[in-house]
């Protein structure tokens, strides 16, 4: 081969995800009636990804049990670094320590994206919230996650809020002790 260009695979990978996700969102906006429906679907897709992604995370990092939510937040940070190549900040802890925010200064998912005015209701990054919820559910943590600030809507940063609801107990199959 005369041409021996080797692409920067890390960059191509991340662009591939960004572009594919973008096309999916565009297709959903076309197919579904309201932005609200799209948000819901994106969250659901994220959830489905999260419940599988956690396995990869655990096997890759060999991480152990978290002692408290601060620990969990740290683990989420390393997941962001691993899968999206960004380093968010954890801030705005609630008094009870059961709620925190992840602040992303840059977000590869929205790098090539502009939201038109008529789609201001769209939560473009809702997939991320779904991934967090899905992944944590698989380690017995029931959380809620939503977007507070969004760079696509003119905010300085993207802020994702995570709220701890309860610990899920292992349920025994019926009929067993």
């Amino acid at each position: 081969m005369s041409r021996s260009t080797r692409f920067d695979t890390k960059k191509v990978n991340s662009e591939l995800v960004t572009l594919t996700y973008g096309t999916l969102v565009a297709q959903m906006v076309k197919d579904l009636d309201t932005a609200e429906d799209v948000n819901k679907q994106l969250e659901r897709i994220g959830y489905n990804m999260g419940i599988r992604l956690i396995e990869d995370f655990l096997s890759r990092t060999g991480t152990g049990r978290c002692l408290d939510l601060k620990d969990t937040a740290d683990k989420i940070l390393s997941a962001f670094r691993l899968y999206l190549g960004v380093q968010p900040n954890v801030v705005n802890w609630s008094g009870a320590g059961d709620e925190f925010s992840l602040i992303l200064e840059s977000n590869p998912l929205t790098e090539l994206v502009e939201l038109p005015d008529e789609l201001k209701q769209l939560k473009y990054c809702n997939m991320i919230c779904g991934v967090i919820r899905g992944a944590l559910e698989m380690v017995q943590l029931d959380v809620q996650s939503w977007i507070v600030q969004d760079q696509l809507k003119g905010d300085q940063n993207t802020e994702i809020r995570v709220k701890f609801i309860r610990r899920l107990e292992d349920a025994m199959p019926a009929g067993e002790d």
Partner: protein, 162 residues
């Protein structure tokens, strides 16, 4: 070689397949199934169309059609599917056949013929990727996939000349 975004793309692709499939999951109608695949192909098309533009922007112009195809089989395929195409055949008259013996989206599935029926869903996106990429390089074509035995896959590219 293996980094975190790989699995992210695998999962995302899987969910896209799932999503386009679910749109008509209750209907066994063949037309609807085709429509799902065509949606999936279109998502691939748009992705490929944009991706190739970003990949090739610093590159010299391709010599000819064959040169473009070679690029798709080597650099492009390695970037997206982590390996090169195993075999490229052409009749030198607008038909190209790309064979991948261990296609990324099929490699995690059970080998052999048992799940052959499910295969079209997992190659449609890639047909779109190929068609979109070539389209942006001003080669207009129809791409069909052929799976005879998992995890290998053949992509038939038929160039449209006007």
């Amino acid at each position: 070689m293996d980094d975190g975004t790989d699995i992210l793309f695998d999962l995302l692709h899987f969910e896209i397949v799932n999503w386009t499939d679910r749109a008509h999951s209750e209907e066994k109608d063949k037309d609807k199934k085709d429509e799902d695949l065509s949606n999936l192909e279109y998502i691939g098309f748009s992705t490929g169309y944009r991706l190739i533009e970003r990949l090739t922007k610093e590159m010299p112009r391709f010599k000819d059609e064959l040169d473009t195809m070679k690029f798709i089989c080597t650099d492009f395929w390695s970037a997206v599917y982590k390996k090169q195409i195993d075999n490229l055949k052409t009749n030198h008259n607008g038909v190209y056949v790309l064979q991948d013996n261990n296609f990324r989206f099929l490699s995690k599935m059970s080998n052999g013929k048992q799940y052959l029926e499910a295969a079209p869903k997992y190659v449609a996106f890639t047909c779109g990727i190929i068609r979109g990429s070539l389209s942006n390089l001003n080669i207009h074509c129809v791409v069909k996939a052929e799976v005879q035995s998992l995890p290998s896959c053949k992509f038939h590219i038929q160039i449209q000349r006007t």
